[in-house]
Each structure stands twice: as C-alpha cells, then as structure tokens.
C-alpha cells in the first residue's frame, strides 16, 4: 500500500465478561482507500466499528490515529479528530429537513454552538457546507424535504451526507446498503467509489458483491478473531475463508 496509514489498531480486545467479542485485532487503514470488513454474524464487525469511533472503550489494546493513541478520549472527540461514523440503522433527525440534518452536522465546524444569541439560519457558510454535503451524495433536490418523508435509500444517503458534513478524514460505515434494493445499492456503490478517492473508508457490509467491487483491502473476521487481510483476490482464494463461510469440505450441510 502506497498511502499513509491513517488509523491503526494494535492488539485491540473487547470482552463482554467472558465473551471475547473481539480478540487481538491488528489492522491498519490507509488513506484514500476503502477497507472492507466482512464476516458472518457475530464476528465482531460492529464491535470493532464501535470502538473505532469511541462508542465502546477497548478492554485492551490501542487505537492510533496518525500515530496518536486515542482509545481513551471521549466519543465526541473522535469526530473532532476527523473520524466520522454512519450507522447500521438509519440514524437521522426525522422531523427536520435534509438541509437541517446536515446543518447540525456541520455546525461543529463553524463553531458558535454554545451561542444562545446567534440566530441559527444567518450563517451563509454553514448553509453552504450543508449544501455541499448534500450535493456530494446527490441529494440536493431533497434539500427542503422532511427527512422522515424521503425514501429509505435516500435516508441512507442522507446518513452519509451527515457524516461528510462533519468533514472527516476517516469514514466508518456500518452496512450502508442494508435493506436496500438493487438499484439503490448501485447508487451507494457508485457514491463510495467516488468518495474513496478522498477519504479513508472502513466499510462493514454483508453484500459480498459490493464489498468485492469496492475494497482495496479486505479483512475477514470470524468469532471475534482476525482471519485474513489482503486484496480481494487474496481473500477470494484463501482456503480458510472458504472454510469459515462454507464449512469444512467433507461436511454435509
């Protein structure tokens, strides 16, 4: 990999009591590339993502962002360092417009969030930033639509727009294509294809076709353990991966 390492985990562990949700993860995520993470249910993919964005604190191990250890800082400080996160379940402000959703996301950058006297819609810069984020995901025509009333696929796009509005350098996306039709998935795949030229993207996804198409690096996890990391072709031909997904060769299913 030629690009710099942006985010790195060293011996990352998460135990829930005796359950090893994640055990000894050593991964490196590179700038301007997409790192796919796949694995069967319960493999610890979401746990990993939750730790990378600070929601869970690791039991052991370190998370390095540009070389700084960040596993101990608060969840909201991860965003300030440029680590943005999209959720598996659509997680937006449903009662407000798409633009307002992005304004909330972008306002941290313009500052003044503690100002009780500054009118909220007076700032041109803020509106511009929010519009830019909507434009990136192709939702500019939904600018003034109420978020609850746009289609599910569009809500997923909005979700990504909100993350983009925080001006991240790392995008952590948790199954952005979950529950989508083929055409809608296509839209997101194309979107991620363009986004990965600018961002470091960590993508957890069940849609194998999409992951194979998008990933520069691919990690397979099973039962909280790291199985294999490599290019798509490496992983495709790996014997252990086939075993994990399809079972032992002589087993009758």
């Amino acid at each position: 990999m030629s690009q710099d390492i942006v985010l790195q985990t060293e011996g990352l562990c998460k135990y829930w009591g005796g359950l090893k949700a994640l055990d000894n993860m050593n991964l490196a995520f590179h700038d301007k590339s997409l790192h796919g993470i796949v694995g069967p249910n319960g493999a610890g993919k979401s746990t990993l993502l939750n730790m990378l964005c600070g929601t869970y604190k690791p039991t052991r191990g370190r998370i390095l962002h540009h070389g700084d250890a960040i596993e101990d800082i608060r969840a909201y400080e991860f965003v300030r360092r440029g680590i943005g996160r999209g959720f598996q379940k659509t997680n937006i402000y449903p009662q407000t417009t798409c633009l307002e959703n992005c304004c909330v996301a972008a306002q941290r950058r313009t500052g003044g969030s503690f100002n009780i006297f500054a009118r909220r819609n007076r700032d041109k810069l803020l509106i511009e930033m929010a519009e830019a984020a909507l434009e990136k995901v192709g939702l500019q025509h939904r600018r003034d639509a109420i978020a609850a009333q746009i289609s599910y696929g569009e809500q997923r796009q909005l979700e990504i727009a909100m993350v983009l509005a925080t001006a991240p350098s790392v995008l952590l996306l948790d199954e952005p294509m979950a529950g989508m039709g083929h055409e809608e998935s296509r839209l997101i795949i194309d979107l991620l294809q363009t986004l990965k030229t600018d961002y470091c993207i960590v993508l957890v996804e069940h849609d194998m076709e999409a992951v194979f198409e998008l990933s520069d690096q691919l990690t397979v996890m099973v039962n909280g353990q790291h199985l294999v990391t490599g290019t798509v072709d490496d992983v495709r031909n790996d014997r252990r991966v086939k075993e994990a997904y399809l079972g032992q060769g002589d087993e009758v299913i």
Binding site: R74, V79, F87, N91, Y93, P94, S113
Partner: protein, 320 residues
C-alpha cells in the same frame, strides 16, 4: 421578530395587550390583581420547566426546588433590617441558583428518563425537608421578609414593590422578557443543537457534540429562571414557605406545561392561566374542588392532544 410561528404571534398580540389593560378594570380590586400577579409569576416558572421537559427532553420532578430556593436565597443573603437593591439581588440570586444548578446538574444529568425523575425528586425532597425542619429558616411556617428591596436604579425609583399594580406590571414585563429569552434560545445555534440532542442524543454525540454539556447549560438556565420566579413570589407577599419546594408544586407545574402544550413555551402561559382559572372557579363552587379539577384536566388532555397551544395551532391552520 423572534416570534416566527403564526399562532404564537397571535397569542402575543392578544395576551399581552389584554394583560396590560386588565388592571384598568380591576382598579379597585387588589385581591384580583394579586391573584393575577401570582399567575404571571408562576407562568415564568412553568415556562422554564416547559423548556426543560418539552425542548430538552429532561423530565424533572424537582424543579420546584429552585422555585423555593429563589425565595430562601434572598432571606439568606440579604441583611434582615436593611432594604437592599432589588436589581443587584436579582442578579445575585440568579447567579447563586445557577451555581447550585450546576452542581446538582452534574449529578442529575448523568441519568435520564425515569431515573432522572427519581433523582431530581429525591434531591428536591431533601431540600424541602431541610427547610421545613430547620428552626433557623422558620420550619414549616416559613419566613417573613421584613424589608422588601428597594427598586431604584441610578437613584431613580421606577416602581414600588408594595404597590400591587406596579408589581403586576413588573411581573408582566418579566414574563414577556422570559418568553422572548426562551424564543431567542430556541432560535439560536445553541437551540439547533439542543433540538438535535432532544430528538436523537446518540446521533448528536456521533456528530461530535458533548451532549452532557448542552444539557447542563439548559438545566442551569432553566433553574436560574425558576429561582427568579420564586424570588418574585417571595416578594409579592413578603414571605417564603417550604411548600414552594414541595413535589406538588413541581407536579402541578408539569400538569400546566402539558395542558398548555409541551415544548411550545408560550403554551406555559396558557396552561398556567387555564389551570389557575379552573382552580379558582372550582374552589369557590365546592369544597371537593380537586375532583372536578381532576376530571376537567383528564378531559382537556384527551381533547387537546398536544395541549391548548397545539389545539389553537390546528385551528389557525384550518382557518387559512
């Protein structure tokens, strides 16, 4: 114009002129003037609770603690036999109440939902029993404020606290200022994030905001204004009483806020006025006034799904 909503404008244009003119018709009747003043003062208190519950999603049953503290704080910091400056002590009381709210808030805001209701109730009850059991603060009977503060500013006396009409107008002005203040807060950048915190706290954290800090600031602001209302109440009759801090005070304030239309802010005025009006009417009709009162409130909450404010809003919408 901070009043953006049509119904709200309508309300402001009807209510405040009406309230301005009302004393002209009641010139002779000090009893009614005092009664109305109490409603205005309580509306300031209910408004601050309405902001917390309706706009921040922080359900508290201990808000009366700050209402009571407003009165007791004045007794604690003012010299007993000397008239102090009203404006200076208003400032002191709000600041001290804000500091107390900061300390209480740091504890209380670690919880949410039902646990927050419990812990705010517990702290308010502790405070209530402290004042109702202490000899120094007059116990159950409360205290009399011997010297009311002097209201002159730069040597000019604008109004007299002992004159009910003056005091009525002052409370009306305070109420208007509070309404304007809360509207300003809601329309601000801070208000945007506070809306976000209320609607989806997890997402707001994931966007890089310190949700706890936003809640704390809101809690402090609302508590400071609640104690301002308590301070005005103490000045009206010149006495403070631990029942100001009782959970019934919080409870009825909550009912008023729900009745008015939670989160609408101006609904707090409607809720307080209607509740107090009903209270007055039923109290004079029957000894068991709580029974018709309760039935009436149940009926109103069922008919007005989003409070009186919501009902009027729908009505105005349909008329267009």
């Amino acid at each position: 114009m901070i009043f953006t909503n049509k119904t709200e404008q309508l309300f402001v244009w009807i209510f405040f002129p009406l309230a301005l003119l009302l004393p002209l018709f009641l010139e002779q009747n000090v009893f009614y003037i005092n009664k109305l003043t109490t409603v205005l003062i309580f509306a300031i208190f209910v408004m601050s609770l309405d902001y917390l519950v309706g706009r921040c999603g922080l359900i508290t049953l201990g808000h009366s603690m700050f209402y009571g503290l407003g009165g007791y704080l004045f007794f604690m910091i003012a010299p007993e036999y000397e008239a102090v400056n009203f404006w200076v002590y208003t400032f002191y009381i709000c600041v001290i109440a804000a500091v107390i709210a900061l300390l209480v808030g740091v504890i209380v805001l670690r919880t949410s939902g039902i646990y927050m209701i419990m812990i705010t109730l517990a702290i308010a009850q502790m405070c209530f029993y402290f004042f109702s059991d202490s000899i120094h603060f007059g116990g159950n009977d409360g205290l009399f404020i011997l010297m009311k503060p002097d209201t002159s500013l730069f040597g000019l006396a604008f109004f007299d606290l002992d004159n009910p009409i003056h005091f009525y107008y002052f409370c009306l002005l305070s109420l208007f200022n509070c309404l304007a203040f809360w509207k300003l807060v809601l329309a601000s950048r801070f208000g945007r994030i506070m809306d976000a915190v209320k609607n989806n706290p997890d997402r707001t954290t994931a966007l890089g905001y310190n949700v706890f800090l936003f809640r704390l600031i809101s809690y402090v602001m609302a508590s400071a204004l609640a104690s301002y209302a308590g301070y005005l109440f103490a000045l009206q009759y010149g006495y403070v009483n631990p029942s100001m801090m009782s959970w019934q005070t919080s409870g009825s304030a909550l009912v008023m806020s729900i009745l008015g239309g939670m989160g609408s802010i101006y609904g707090a005025i409607l809720g307080t006025a209607v509740y107090s009006g009903l209270h007055y009417i039923f109290e004079h009709m029957t000894e068991h006034w709580l029974l018709p009162m309760g039935l009436m409130i149940i009926a109103m909450v069922m008919v007005f799904k989003s409070g009186i404010a919501g009902f009027i809003e729908n009505w105005v919408e349909r008329r267009k």
